[in-house]
């Protein structure tokens, strides 16, 4: 199988999406005769080339982070450029990976509906949408914390390379938790705010000497002065 992969992260080669795709593609390539080509949608000057790649593809994987509860604007620009291909005979099968910083999958479910409809609109066979939360920060996490995630992506890619489908159980597991409940919700309430402040964002704010300004409200503060 030949797979055409679009990385829709505005961070491009420095993205968490890239890390997820690397492991997926490592698994995908374990099947003999599988090949792939990869494009970064943040290369804005290559828009025409992306449409050509899509038009010639056998199978497409579009992966991106959740931005304001939907696709990043760059990805929407790409989707709009595909409009002339809607309903064309021979359009590729298409699958999606949506990752977000929120731990719960619920944040991405409305977008999942959109993506399923997009596949129908284009006339593409819909492979499915993989939703994975809790991804922000994986680039700086110790390997023991990401090992399980990367192994799941590898297995997902391997099975996809063998069957052309997303393994339902792996997709289901990656999408957990759907919502925070019980003890997990309680622990987020009690320590989540403290942890998120002190361990990740605050460290970066201090590195940038911006910690003292972290609660700035530039648009109302300036209006008052």
């Amino acid at each position: 199988m030949k797979l055409t992969v679009f990385n829709g992260s505005p961070r491009g080669q420095h993205s968490n999406t890239r890390m997820l795709l690397e492991h997926f593609l490592d698994g995908f390539m374990t099947s003999k005769d599988n090949t792939y080509e990869l494009a970064y949608l943040n290369h804005l000057k290559s828009r025409d080339k992306f449409v050509t790649m899509f038009g010639e593809a056998e199978c497409v994987l579009l992966a991106f982070p959740l931005y304001t509860d939907a696709m990043p604007a760059m990805v929407k620009t790409f989707i709009e450029s595909l409009e002339p291909l809607c309903g064309r005979e021979g359009n590729p099968a298409i699958g999606f990976i949506v990752q977000s910083g929120f731990p719960e999958a619920i944040h991405s479910r409305a977008l999942e509906r959109y993506l399923e409809k997009l596949a129908r609109r284009l006339g593409c066979r819909y492979i499915g949408t993989v939703i994975k939360g809790g991804v922000e920060g994986i680039r700086t996490m110790p390997s023991m914390m990401t090992r399980g995630l990367f192994k799941s992506l590898y297995l997902l890619g391997r099975k996809f390379g063998e069957t052309g489908s997303f393994d339902r159980q792996i997709v289901l597991n990656l999408g957990k938790p759907e919502r925070l409940t019980g003890l997990r919700l309680l622990s987020f309430r009690l320590i989540g705010r403290y942890l998120s402040r002190s361990k990740y964002w605050d460290r970066k704010l201090k590195e940038n000497k911006a910690f003292d300004k972290r609660f700035a409200r530039p648009y109302t503060d300036k209006a008052k002065s």
Partner: protein, 167 residues
């Protein structure tokens, strides 16, 4: 009431849409509202590149000095923001989404629990009521409107907005 209309129509030739917004704006002003329309296609707004500098280097402001800073200032000073766009490929325009992505400085990176879900903490005391005004395209259907509304409703939860569904 201070109302801001985000005109996400990317096509200057689509004067039906722009004229509709003009008539709407006039009608609202007749009722003593102050209306500002941001014609986004005429503004220099760059894509959000996910650098998070608006959270971590210049908290509350995009590090790129483009027109998104004017958009943010106008947004936070409004009582009502109307996101207006033709439906293109089943969703609001990339042009509107570009402006929308750049509202991120208005919230915190910090996460809190709201409605039993993780959401960003608010940076400001007050956020506007938001609404969605959609123009159907040739291939639009009720499902597109429902999905788009649902995505905007989800986003309103995150940005601590009160979202008024299209009626």
């Amino acid at each position: 009431m201070k109302i801001t209309i985000f005109n996400g129509n990317p096509d200057g030739g689509n004067d039906v849409f722009d004229n509709y917004l003009k008539r709407l704006s006039d009608a609202l002003e007749l009722r003593e509202h102050t209306v500002t329309t941001l014609t986004l296609r005429e503004m220099d707004i760059r894509y959000c590149i996910g650098c998070f500098d608006c959270w971590l280097k210049t908290p509350g402001e995009c590090i790129v000095a483009d027109a998104s800073q004017d958009v943010c200032r106008q947004f936070i000073a409004s009582d009502l923001v109307l996101f207006a766009s033709p439906l293109i490929m089943g969703f609001t325009s990339a042009l509107l989404k570009k402006a929308h992505d750049k509202l991120v400085p208005l919230i915190h990176p910090y996460i809190g629990i709201y409605h039993n879900e993780c959401h960003h903490m608010p940076r400001y005391e007050k956020y506007p009521l938001t609404g969605l005004l959609l123009e159907k395209g040739r291939d639009s259907d009720e499902e597109d409107i429902e999905i788009t509304s649902e995505i905007y409703r989800r986003d309103a939860l995150n940005v601590h907005l009160h979202f008024a569904s299209p009626g």
